[in-house]
Subunit: 258 residues, 2 copies
């Protein structure tokens, strides 16, 4: 394939994932069934939900005993106290609390609604999925598993769907990675006319996550894994900490912007 | 191609665009040169910069006479008063003003740094590109032009690279569209287990823009147009106003979140 062509292939009919499942093996098998060859340098984008399931991060609300603090907070913002309890257990810092709204920084530094705890595509009426405990470690485990099974060095991006400020609706973001540089940094390079670029630094793993979501979907598509091929601009050699993607409040130009 | 495969093709060696150029014609010719057939339902993602150039939206700072207000503001935030003047001319509302930082809502409702005014890939040491005056109209013009030249109904997304709150570095967003529904709305649909989805509504045009940027790049790649093929989840039949992507402050859950 030429350098100006990217192909994304979703692995169809992916089996339902359960606690303890070996995702690397399932991805390898699903790729074979889908006639997709996993190659060196491919990026494997994986929906957070199946990682959480494989890691047993599914919780039934009926099994949750809310603390007095969660009870009080839940009443104030009209949410289920058991869900508030789950969110607070995953939380490092409350970013915003308002009726029906709980935005937090979770223990890994990700800022999002409800600490990313979510009901969709989880079996059981009162069952919710927590985010993986350490999504970078989850990604690395899957990367290593795929290397063992196929002999190919791939990058892995675990991704999830999030609301964002200023723009309506949700897009897919990276929440954990392995074997890939998070950024394509153009600072110090020349543009078409020799001008030295000052600020361009692209969060390439977020863009790959967004691209993968175009195939994954959110409903009953059963395509939780997308293989991205021929990403010429991606530096797949280096692993990075997803925490490098979280901008500090001091650096965030949008701090106090409304 | 199967429904689970998306292909993105960048149009290489795209000529330098100048004021008055016919972008639909240039895209058609570049597609032919790149051996890319434009098909019904393809999405044509176009970097804002070439649209601005074609529409003559390039301004030399030396030609700008800053107002007293711009002079004062520029001094307070340590910016070039002529650049501040340009930003304010494009601005409906100042969202945040701080040293070296000017975030505004532009006249089309887009919230971003410096009203999207930018130096990269513009010829001339003191030349800056303003955003297209009405990006939806620009997109529609190009869509109609491609239809006339090829007989094919495509969707057009004009996209640009933006910083965003909470996450480091930039990603590509849609700033104007034609022939495409902005969203893939899952609300009311069932997930894998029959649960009715409550909030999932995906800003699909932003995800397509992000995907296209993976080929476009920011430097001297000279690939300002990417054709996206086989997007099964995209409703290309309907045109929508990009303004539907701007969330009101009342609806924005992230309002006052830091």
């Amino acid at each position: 394939m030429q350098a100006n062509r990217i192909m994304l292939v979703g692995l169809k009919d992916f089996p339902i994932v359960e606690a303890g499942d070996d995702l690397a093996k399932m991805i390898h098998e699903a790729a074979v069934k889908n006639n997709v060859t996993i190659n060196q340098g491919d990026v494997v984008a994986i929906a957070q939900k199946i990682v959480s399931k494989a890691e047993g991060r599914i919780v039934r609300l009926n099994d949750v005993q809310p603390s007095p603090r969660s009870e009080k907070m839940a009443k104030a913002i009209q949410k289920d106290p058991r869900l508030v309890e789950l969110v607070l257990r995953e939380t490092k810092r409350i970013v915003k609390i308002a009726p029906k709204t709980l935005i937090v920084e979770n223990k890994n530094g990700l800022i999002c609604l409800n600490a990313g705890i979510d009901k969709s595509n989880v079996l059981g009426e009162d069952s919710y999925a927590l985010l993986p405990e350490d999504p970078d470690r989850s990604a690395e485990r899957i990367r290593a598993g795929i290397l063992k099974l196929t002999g190919k060095h791939v990058a892995v991006i675990i991704c999830d769907t999030y609301s964002r400020p200023f723009r309506r609706a949700q897009v897919e973001f990276a929440i954990g990675t392995a074997g890939i540089n998070l950024f394509k940094d153009y600072r110090g390079q020349q543009d078409l006319f020799g001008y030295i670029l000052q600020v361009k630094n692209v969060a390439i793993v977020d863009e790959i996550a967004a691209a993968a979501e175009l195939i994954m979907g959110q409903g009953n598509e059963a395509i939780p894994v997308v293989i991205v091929k021929n990403l010429a601009r991606v530096d797949g050699g280096r692993s990075a900490l997803i925490a490098d993607l979280w901008i500090s409040r001091e650096e965030d130009l949008f701090k106090n912007a409304h």
